[in-house]
Amino acid sequence: MEIYDILFWVLSAIAVSCALGVILSRNPVNSVMFLILTFFAISGHYILMNAQFLAVVNIIVYAGAIMVLFLFVIMLMNLNADVEPQKGQLVQLAGVISGGILFLVILAGIKSAKPEIMDKTSTDIGLITNLGRVLFTKYVLPFEISSVLFLSAMIGAIVIGKKEETKDPDAKAERVN
């Protein structure tokens, strides 16, 4: 067994068990922590597959920015295991069975797929030089459009999250005083 295979199985076990922890833990803060661990395991897979730039971006963007945003919102709302809403046992069982059936259906579909041999030698596809060259030649238009998407998401988040102005002039005067 090569080192690649050992690392693959270890990282897969971490990813799957932490993903189960996300959906099974009662406390939302624990869920966020498990999800961060899952993202770290997936980043490990990226490094294993010579996608170094994506591994770094995954840690910075997902584990660093997005999950901190989640954690911030959860702590802002003061959510914990006591106020966590729980579905009935029957609905939870139905969810697990539906997810399991989806798993089995797709598994039956891809079971007969011809296994492609992984080339385990190091490549430089995932390096930032190569990715940048492709991004700014072939995919320059989607890149620009995604910047517009980001701008609109930023404005949208501000507009949605803004406190509503009170129409009542007395309330406004009171707040000024």
Binding site: Y62, G99, A113, I117, S146
Partner: protein, 101 residues
Amino acid sequence: MPVNSTHYLFLSLLLFSIGIMGALMRRNAIIIFMCIELMLNAVNLLLVAFSKIYGDADAQLFVFFIMVVAAAEVAVGLAIIVMMYRKVHSVDINILNRLKH
């Protein structure tokens, strides 16, 4: 048996199914959101695996764009959840089934 594409297919499928199960099982809107992130990451993992197998950089660029869209989605979605929490003081999705308050 050395690791090949089938292993990555199974791993991604397993992570995706766990995400689906979580989205169906939980009532907390934030946890459902996190399960959607998990599903997006399962797909990202598969794209990178096939990028490695076929030696193609395009798939990694797609992962990059998925991350961009996910970040924008999280910003807007969390703003909506915070707004909903201000109105009804709960993140329980069962309260939202009436669409009026």
